[in-house]
Amino acid sequence: MTRRLAVRPPAALAVLGAVLVVAVAGLLSLAVGTRPVAPDRVLDALLHGGGSPDALVVRSLRVPRTAVGLAAGAALGIAGAALQAVTRNPLADPGILGLSQGAAAGVVVAVASGLAGGFGGYVWYAFTGAVVAACLVYGIAARGRGGASPVKLALAGTALSAMTAGATTVVLTADSATLDQFRFWQVGALSGRDADTVGAMLPFLGAGLLAVLACARGLDALALGDDAARALGHRVGLVRGVAAAGATLLTAAAVAAAGPIAFVGLAVPHLARRMVAGGHRVVLPLSGLLGAGLLVGADVAGRVVRAPAEVPAGVMTAVVGVPVLVALVRRRGAVT
């Protein structure tokens, strides 16, 4: 069996590269669309404003959309990396604690009851649903023998997700008007989001980010197993709880803003771990950058592929990301 030596770039170089990718994706996101705007005019609109049609499109439509994409992508990437470490399962993604399905249930309740109008109204219902689901899952997994072990967390999350999805489907089966609205939220898209959406999510994103980053060293230790982590002086339960809580806030905010975008949170941490040899202090920020770049890049691609129609970002992340993931996974054994 031959092993090619994989030369990994130093962490700083990888992060710098990721920053560049995010910058390019962000700029493209401001420039590309049914009304193309040249990059110099984009900058002009950002710096000086003005009332030209170009400036209006950039500032009122594309800036919020890009901001939502960057924030949601970064949040999903970081949350995924944290949850994969917490559950010690390479299949873990931000949906694993029942977060995405909880948010979806919140949206269905909002639409079916006629309480929420438009995406702005969905946000709080989705956020509440996600947080409630995560609390339930953690509460159930923490009971019983051995506390919130990785396997129990993952299984409880999956079971609750499936139950919530079932209940949601029952409602949608009985109510086709709700299905008609819900299917457009479910696919995950960034279009039609306004600046208020971003503003509402920022405090939660900030709090979640701080919580997860504070656990970075503890997450490194968790990979060695609970006993080894304890022997190294980490409080395993505390690390798990705080990291999971941070990931919950990040995911809830992202899903509320952009819909249940799958795959970003699952695949991005794997890419990040392939790129750098460092621990979570590097992997977490890098996952955030890659997630932001992937989601915004996919959103831009979705505007171009079938112009003037748009392909939702949630679909394009798969189209863009899957080949990369498969190629990477083939190149070296999966790092779990």
Binding site: L155, R183, H270
Partner: protein
């Protein structure tokens, strides 16, 4: 990453097992608790099936059900013999096939979150069906099961080929499967947002899985496939045990690990794909049944027989709920499998 089921501390391991020697040259290990659990599950399945045969739009007493089954005639022949019984039998077969398939895939990947859906079967079946509906490639609805079986098998084969490199690594297999599944799922989602609401509802209904209006026509082929897989399953029940100890230990015990994994995967994928063709992609059963069965039997490895029985109980129970919860509306059974099996799994997880 696995958690080993703890044997109850009161009893040492050797007391939980009987060795049967029906013949001087034949010896069988019998895990006593597993046998008791399997027997209890058989009884439970019988009860659920009987209740399901009695209950519905019109109530038929158990005595009348028995009479109808024995004579094949009588006033309830249409409701019981033509509608309910075929559907119940199909449900038990689909649930059993999914339960076993889940146990096999989880044994190969050593991951309790893995299931045939994770390695692309469900998404492959869904994408093939949606493609056939959208392009009008399939004129008769009767051909859809064949299309979905082919799609499921093709997707799983693609995942296996892509993940194969100097042997099979479970984590690589699972990750590749998730990637391919997400890509196929995205295609289906795109179709759902692109199409008219009516077409979207039709596809969504198929995607949730249902036993509505299905019976012998679908149960026949599935039963044949299950029978053909039986010898393989007998072999599998022995192969699962060393694999659970990890690839190195299994190899040192003389197991050809890659070959055993391929065999188990093929069995699981064929069973899951056929079940999906018969009733649509029903989620959750394949994932939960093995985990439930393992916690009930308290065996360290995944018990195939109990997984099948658990899957059958979940699906027949869910179908009973699907028919009777909101009459006259039929809820897709796939939406209810999780509502039937989920709370129980949560309770087992949270037990002190």
């Amino acid at each position: 990453m696995t958690d080993t089921a703890r044997l109850s501390p009161a009893e040492p391991a050797h007391r939980q097992v009987s060795v049967l020697r029906p013949h001087p040259r034949v010896s069988l290990l019998l895990h006593r608790r597993s046998a008791a659990v399997a027997l209890a599950l058989v009884l439970l399945l019988g009860v659920v099936m009987l209740v399901s045969a009695c209950v519905g739009q019109a109530y038929v007493s158990p005595g009348e059900v028995w009479h109808t089954l024995r004579t094949g005639s009588g006033p309830h022949e249409l409701v019981v013999g033509e509608l309910r019984v075929p559907r119940i039998v199909l449900g038990a077969l689909v649930g059993g096939a999914l339960g076993v398939a889940g146990a096999l895939v989880q044994a190969v990947t050593r991951n309790p979150l893995a299931s045939p859906d994770v390695i692309g079967v469900g998404h492959g079946a869904a994408a093939a069906t949606v493609f056939a509906l959208a392009t009008g490639a399939v004129s008769s609805p009767g051909a859809l099961p064949a299309v979905s079986v082919a799609g499921g098998l093709a997707a799983a084969a693609l995942v296996y080929v892509l993940a194969w490199r100097h042997g099979m690594q479970p984590s690589r297999f699972v990750l590749t499967g998730v990637g391919i599944g997400v890509a196929l799922g995205a295609v289906v989602q795109l179709y759902l947002t692109d199409s008219e609401l009516e077409a979207a509802e039709q596809v969504k209904l198929w995607l949730t899985g249902s036993l509505n209006g299905r019976g012998w026509e679908q149960a026949g082929p599935l039963a044949v496939v299950c029978l053909l897989c039986l010898p393989g399953l007998v072999w599998a029940s022995r192969a699962v045990r060393p694999l659970g100890l990890g690839p190195e230990t299994a190899a040192s015990l003389g197991v050809r690990v890659d070959r055993a994994r391929l065999g188990l995967t093929v069995l699981g994928v064929v069973l899951a794909a056929t079940a999906t063709g018969a009733a649509g992609p029903i989620g959750f059963v394949a994932l939960t049944a093995p985990q439930l069965a393992r916690r009930l039997t308290r065996t360290p490895q995944l018990p195939l027989l109990s997984s099948a029985l658990t899957g059958a109980v979940i699906l027949v129970g869910a179908d009973l709920a699907a028919r009777t919860l909101l009459p006259p509306l039929e809820i897709p059974v796939g939406a209810l499998t999780s509502l039937v099996g989920g709370p129980y799994l949560l309770w087992l997880l949270g037990r002190r």
